[in-house]
């Protein structure tokens, strides 16, 4: 069974042969082979090579997304005219563009075939589909969730205070962000002829109260997921989301990559019967800096708590940062402790 097949079985809330391991795709593909992140982004041949190399090196795990255009989190914001900053070893970042609240009235939904980096994403997607080895699938790029995109355009601080000061403008911006993402996913589908997954990243719901999530987050996230109801919906949020867990799950994603700050046993108990859980090893102290033994021990506990019954994917409760030996340790832990039926004392 391939790691991707395992992933898909767990996503359907079933038990594969063993607990799958999956990592989020990021600039680590480039940096681990000494490639400048900007080269990785714009040279599609190098991008494909870097992603394939990572998959070859870590054949025991899946990546989310798999082979994909991977322009980082700046792609959609760039379509609104934000300035993008590139770094040698880190993913690109962008600045906010809405300085005054009234500017929201003048913002338009961008055209994914024309604006910012989005046409480049489509071009890269096409290249990958045409050039990927026949045994690999190409996924669409990850999309930012609507709150995450809105906060990138407005700035996180102002976006959060706008919920108090200018709620009607927050709704307006959320509508624009939501439509942007729907159009973007549809454009990627036109390029590929239709994909099987949608992967959305949005941390902002974890930062706000249940009341604000209900008003400003839930309807928009749900609209995007409902628009693509035939796809496997994967959602990443690396902030504590215990306070809105059931409502988040009601937006109807099937796989939840959740924060290390969430209690995994309680998360499993509350939403594990309807949502496949993907997580949640602490990313910095344990995954980045821990010894192989420490990582394996933590993974063992996670498998023990969330693995039985299926619907569980072992992963990091935050972005994937490498290094190689940490990824190896996690894969090794799944091999040792994650065989179904799970028996751990």
């Amino acid at each position: 069974m391939t790691p991707r097949e395992r992933f898909m079985i767990a996503a359907r809330l079933q038990e594969p042969d063993q607990v799958p391991v999956a990592f989020l795709r990021g600039s680590y593909d480039a940096t681990r082979i000494g490639l400048h992140v900007k080269d990785y982004i714009f040279d599609y041949k190098k991008k494909l090579n870097a992603q394939l190399k990572l998959m070859e090196r870590f054949s025991g795990c899946a990546f989310v997304p798999g082979i994909n255009p991977d322009f980082g989190i700046v792609a959609e914001a760039s379509a609104f005219g934000t300035e993008v900053f590139y770094y040698e070893k880190e993913p690109p970042m962008c600045t906010s563009i809405i300085k005054q609240i009234e500017e929201i009235d003048r913002i338009k939904v961008p055209d994914p075939h024309r604006d910012g980096l989005l046409p480049k994403v489509l071009e890269a997607y096409k290249y990958l589909i045409d050039n990927v080895p026949s045994n690999c699938e190409v996924d669409p790029q990850a999309i930012r969730g609507p709150m995450d995109l809105a906060s990138a355009l407005r700035g996180v601080g102002p976006f959060l205070s706008d919920m108090y000061k200018h709620p009607e403008h927050v709704h307006k911006l959320m509508e624009i962000a939501t439509q942007t993402q729907i159009d973007f996913v549809k454009a990627m589908d036109e390029t590929s002829g239709g994909s099987n997954i949608i992967f959305m990243c949005d941390d902002i719901p974890g930062l706000i109260s249940p009341k604000f999530f209900e008003e400003f987050g839930f309807p928009y996230m749900k609209k995007i997921f409902q628009t693509f109801s035939n796809k496997l919906k994967i959602y990443h949020n690396c902030k504590n989301s215990m306070h809105i867990l059931e409502r988040l799950a009601n937006t109807s994603f099937q796989v939840f990559n959740f924060s290390f700050e969430n209690n995994i046993a309680e998360t499993k108990k509350r939403i594990g019967k309807r949502t496949c859980l993907m997580g949640n090893v602490e990313p910095i102290g344990i995954f980045l800096k821990g010894s192989q033994r420490e990582i394996e021990d933590i993974c063992r506990e996670q498998i023990k708590m969330a693995g039985p019954g299926g619907g569980y994917i072992l992963s990091v409760g935050g972005g994937c940062y490498g290094p190689d030996q940490s990824m190896d340790a996690m894969i090794s832990a799944a091999d040792k402790y994650g065989k179904y039926p799970i028996v751990i004392d």
């Binding site: 900053f85 880190e90 959060l160 205070s161 109260s209 306070h243």
Partner: protein, 216 residues
């Protein structure tokens, strides 16, 4: 209850309830009633901010409430500054504050700046994505008592060390106390890179800044 006492109580309550319009009204009322600015800040704004912080810790409040608390503190200080200067209230110390190069995050920085302002510090906000050269020139020109730096991303943490090394090369390290903070930064890391202090949150940052001033 005296008028002024009621105004302070109402102001504190409005602050805790994140009612920014009411806070502005009551601040103006407090000024009209000639309540000393120190009393307004201490009994209404600072205590209100403390209460907001406790509610955040208890998961009753979330980040929008902390951001609003920071905004309201900033507006209160702006409004009261002329009165504070006229009253000859002295500054608790001078601080230059910035987020390191490669890091565009500013929520944490802004909240800490608001808290430090309420505690009477005179702050220069250097902004975000600040290079080590820029930090060095800020220290050289502004001559702060404390340089505060934040890093919210694991990969920008080494910039904190770089700034300290550059300050040493420029012969300025012994002229300024250095406090660092940010989500991935730990007390151990702060010690490793030779910072003088570490603040795990806005409240601790204020206390640590006061302690650093005693060592000046």
């Amino acid at each position: 209850m005296e008028n002024s006492e009621k105004t302070i109580t109402d102001l504190r309550e409005a602050f805790v309830n994140i009612d920014s319009n009411r806070v502005n009204e009551l601040l103006k009322k407090a000024i009209e009633e000639n309540i000393p600015p120190r009393e307004i800040i201490e009994k209404a704004i600072r205590q209100g901010a403390d209460e907001v912080g406790k509610k955040y810790e208890a998961c009753e409040y979330f980040l929008p409430e902390l951001v609003m608390s920071g905004d309201m503190m900033k507006e209160a200080i702006e409004l009261l500054k002329p009165m504070m200067q006229a009253d000859g209230i002295s500054s608790s110390g001078k601080i230059v504050f910035g987020t390191v190069k490669g890091d565009l995050h500013d929520i944490g920085k802004n909240i800490v700046i608001s808290m430090l302002s309420v505690a009477g510090f005179d702050i220069t906000d250097a902004g975000v994505d600040i290079s080590s050269e820029k930090f060095v020139s800020e220290v050289r020109e502004k001559k702060p008592d404390i340089l505060c730096m934040s890093s919210l991303l694991t990969h920008t943490m080494p910039e904190l060390n770089l700034v300290i090394e550059e300050l040493k090369k420029a012969g300025l390290r012994n002229k300024v106390k250095i406090m660092v903070g940010g989500r991935p930064v730990t007390e151990e890391y702060a010690r490793e890179i030779g910072a003088d202090s570490f603040g795990k949150d806005a409240y601790e940052a204020v206390e640590k800044a006061k302690q650093l001033m005693k060592k000046r």
